[in-house]
Amino acid sequence: MQHVAGLSGARAGAKAAVEVRGLSHVYAGRDGAVPALESIDITVPAGRFVVIVGPSGCGKTSLLMMLAGLRAQSSGTILIDGRPIARPDPERVGVVFQEASLYPWLTAVENVEFPLALKHAPRGERRDRAEAMLKLVGLEGFGSRHPHELSGGMKQRVSIARGLVQDPPVLLMDEPFAALDEQTRMTMGHELLRIWGETSKTVVFITHSLTEAVYLADEVLVMSARPGRILDRITVDLPRPRTYQMMATEAFGALRERIWGQIRTAP
């Protein structure tokens, strides 16, 4: 996977990979305007792993859609890799969605190739690239399977491979492991950190799980209930590589407790 690390490793400089300034969003509801997001400021330096947690309906997913250029905010600016994002730009942002986002009529490798096929990349080149990505996510030899022949964890590995196939500096992940069972979820978290280590992407990851948040993150952003605001920014200073044993430590528990305290007391 040398070429993967090589392509984006150079980005791990000082420049912010994701920058959100004064972002607010209001949508038109049944009874007039509903404030959904309020004065959000986020700076994610290149190569960082940031996790956003918050109660259901706080606008985390909307925020992610805006970072992906899939939805427009009412006000404020978003810079990805130093430039505004008005529409989806797979060269800069890869998105990994919640469960079941693979195309069931395509094989695993064709799913991974999909973004390249949209750009009319040469057939051989995109197949090689997709196979390399499948190998990176630990699915070498599974390329010809259809999604219904893969387990939930394997499907999300394919989704991650698809998100990485164009080598974007930023990877956005919207509760990618929410539908998995506890054990698979732990394994996938660990695998994601390995992949992240090999590719040095900037990751913005949304989850409901506080344990997952602390385990994965360099920094955890805690959001309030609607309208979503950033209540707290918690730096997770646990050493890397993270291990399962860390979950039992006092430091891990204290971080988890601090996040829970924020969410619980949130208005």
């Binding site: 986002s101 973004p115 750009k119």
Partner: protein, 250 residues
């Protein structure tokens, strides 16, 4: 039951039915006037297949079926997609389509004769009318079967509208569309047959109606076998296409 055994049992059942068809009238257990033996019917089939008027009738009927199909399917598909994609259009037209769909179409036959006269256009118009509703409903269902997250993924990777249509809508809808094609052919064929049997000068439906009225049971049954074979051939052809296109369905 294993696949091989199952096929064997099915063939045995078919053989038994055909054998009974031959034996019962031969031994006088059923009236041979009402049910002529299979061998007689097959002989009649070979005979009518050699007749020029039957060739003409088959040609006319086939043309009616094909033209009505070629009109009804794209028309119905377009209306169905429109009613699923366009909220206003859908809200206005869907209930009406739904109610009209429930009406037996044959009660409109006299009106088709008044408007088009008896002939090719009337057959085509009536068959199109009998087919178009099921196509509309199926096409609308096919559009609604497209998953929102699949569209979102395509958009997030910068797909153009044309790419979304070709790479997401079409493959998502294909299994339902093929099934719709198969079922609409049943409606379409039925439409042409009813229109021909009700009032016409030419066509295989007309011949079958004549043979029935003249109590020519061997010819009537030969005609039935002929049409049944044609309908089954089309059905199986689309079904094998369906199976090939939806291997990904668990």
């Amino acid at each position: 039951m294993r696949g091989g055994t199952l096929v064997l049992f099915r063939l045995a059942l078919l053989a038994a039915v055909l054998l009974l068809w031959e034996a019962l009238p031969r031994f006088g257990l059923v009236n041979a006037m009402l049910l002529p033996p299979l061998s007689d019917v097959l002989a009649a089939l070979a005979h009518i297949l050699g007749r020029a008027d039957v060739h003409t009738a088959l040609g006319v009927t086939a043309a009616e079926v094909v033209v009505a199909f070629v009109i009804a399917v794209p028309l119905g598909a377009a209306l169905g997609v429109l009613s699923a994609e366009n909220e206003y259009f859908g809200d206005i037209f869907k209930p009406m389509l739904f109610y009209v769909f429930s009406i037996p179409k044959s009660i409109f036959l006299p009106m088709f004769i008044l408007v088009f006269g008896i002939g090719f256009p009337q057959k085509v118009a009536y068959a199109t009318f009998s087919t178009v509703f099921i196509v509309i409903m199926s096409a609308a269902a096919a559009v609604e079967s497209v998953k929102a997250e699949h569209l979102l993924v395509a958009r997030s990777y910068g797909a153009t509208q044309a790419q979304i249509l070709r790479r997401v809508y079409l493959p998502s809808m294909l299994p339902i569309l093929l099934e719709a094609l198969r079922i609409s052919m049943i409606f379409n064929f039925t439409g042409v047959m009813i229109a021909e049997m009700y009032a016409s000068r030419v066509g295989i439906g007309r011949l079958i109606a004549d043979w029935g009225e003249n109590f020519e049971m061997t010819k009537l049954l030969a005609g039935v076998i002929l049409l049944a074979a044609a309908a089954m051939a089309f059905n199986e052809a689309v079904r094998s296409l369906e199976a090939r296109c939806s291997t990904w369905r668990a």
